[in-house]
Symmetry: C2
Subunit: 341 residues, 2 copies
Amino acid sequence: MKQKVTLKIIAKEFDVSISTVSKALKNSNEISEEVREKIKAYADYYNYKPNSLALQLRAQKTSVIGVIIPEIVHHFFSTVIDGIEEHANKRGYNVMVCLSNESFEKEVSNISVLTNGSVDGVIVSIARETQKKEDYNHFEMLLKDGFPLVLFDRIVDSLKCDKVIIDDIGGGFKAANHLLEIGSKRIALLTTEDYITVGALRKVGYRKAMQSAGLEVDEDYVFKINDTKNLYRQIEKIFHLEKVPDAILAVNEIYAAIAMKIAIEKGYKIPEDIAVLGFTSGLISKFTSPPLTAITQHGYLMGQQAAELLINRIEHTGPKEFQKEVISTGIKIRKSTYIGE
Amino acid sequence: MKQKVTLKIIAKEFDVSISTVSKALKNSNEISEEVREKIKAYADYYNYKPNSLALQLRAQKTSVIGVIIPEIVHHFFSTVIDGIEEHANKRGYNVMVCLSNESFEKEVSNISVLTNGSVDGVIVSIARETQKKEDYNHFEMLLKDGFPLVLFDRIVDSLKCDKVIIDDIGGGFKAANHLLEIGSKRIALLTTEDYITVGALRKVGYRKAMQSAGLEVDEDYVFKINDTKNLYRQIEKIFHLEKVPDAILAVNEIYAAIAMKIAIEKGYKIPEDIAVLGFTSGLISKFTSPPLTAITQHGYLMGQQAAELLINRIEHTGPKEFQKEVISTGIKIRKSTYIGE
DNA sequence: CTGTTAGCGCTTTCAC
DNA sequence: GTGAAAGCGCTAACAG
């Protein structure tokens, strides 16, 4: 790669000092019209651009924010990144994305790499492994130094920092409630294992809705799916219940789609025999048949909020106390729970 | 944010010179055991980490690669990023992601920001608007300076740089061929407008397959869908043909899913009356009913290859001539084209 | 064994 | 009007 033009090179070219060039390019009227013009012309011609590393080092500010997510091939997370990008760009920041791949070690190393001066702050959604280990030391170190950190979606309450979460309890409630409203009595819950907070919280919401309807939660109707094993086999167990449920609430759209597919294969009519509802994060719900009613998650908004909190923290332009933003969910009613039209 | 520890600070603490500290931390045996240990202990305790900006500025190397994609909320592109990340990390690089949002202007500004010293090279998939304008000046400038650039997926042939593309012609051929093999005679093609190369290339493959089968392509069976308008209405036109096709080949999974849905609504049996096949980039094909046969696209591999080409270019560790890697497609046969079992 | 110096590219204050 | 010098944080050649 060819040597890039620097102030030094231009200075040598015209036999002036570096600072003269710097000022000329900034249109400082300390510099004579004549010199200014010829320097600008030269710089322009050779496509001079100030080296941003030098600027950053000097300014002690990179205008870059780091983002660490567990995986990117996941509609929800891409949506969040999109939101982060949008807000960050608007405020003059760039985004550096790192993946933890759900690994504790990679998360720690990402944090370490990012916080050595390359970024002004980080936004992270915690890796599963970290959540399981409950080792948040790497974050605590950062916070001790007052390094700007925003947690989203997969958060941990004990960390003193800004957070933005989806209202999963509300979402679970909204979901179960919708099913109750359409007349479901026996709602099966397809959820994740307990240490995955998202699943656990949605379950809380489900439980709340059941209780407000005066129904008690039958634990036989709660299925904790292990993501690493055969999903079909695990989900099929729903249909081994003595009394097959008349509704299925799944905490994500894959589980929902699979459950629906199995139900149809077994000859059940959706939604007449069994209504199905999922939490969506992608495009699947729209294209199943029947299309799935789903709780929607506004990842984009979440990303924007996270970026806003972070940048406010970086620029000291928000409240001093740590914020916890809650993004409420929506519900998109489709044919899997809706008879009529 | 608290002042980070620097060599200077440590040096002052022990009343030694900065270089002594630097060496001590590098375990240089130029420094006495005693001094070394106390400095290391201190650094460790205060969690010293060398400022990477300073290192980068000094080394004239950032070990960061920039990636510019049209959008991230798109399974294919996330997959590619995933692949880029994987390879980049393996070789000690980090990834900075920017979105062009299909806008020419944003692409230009992204290039400009990234290439001012923040990254050692960039990987880009060109924005639609840029393709439409055919203005590739921002890339030509880079190449003139010998700046490492790799184009993927949406490329332009005239640019002299490394490229990696999907074998779209082969994919179109493979797709049409499969349909012909299962006995389809009248294959409708659902494609994009011509300036979208991907669609155009797949069409070429389709045409080739038809011709090798001794069939001629009836342009009435080619539907160019405009992504901004009502997809349903446009796709429905397939069924207005005097002779309804016995197979539909769609250049992406959304079109395929919609076409299939409309067909079913109209009472056609899939695949008996009409076989449907799409190019997949997400999870939709798997969850439609029947599940869609699809040409698969290996974005992950593509990302890895792109990163490899770029890093080889950066490190001068590959061939001097520009490479053009072609990633071949796969085909996943599902029920939408398969009778039996 | 330890320190001085120069330099990466840039900005800015202060002299001249 | 122009330039010298300091400094951002670090490394490395060289001097002592």
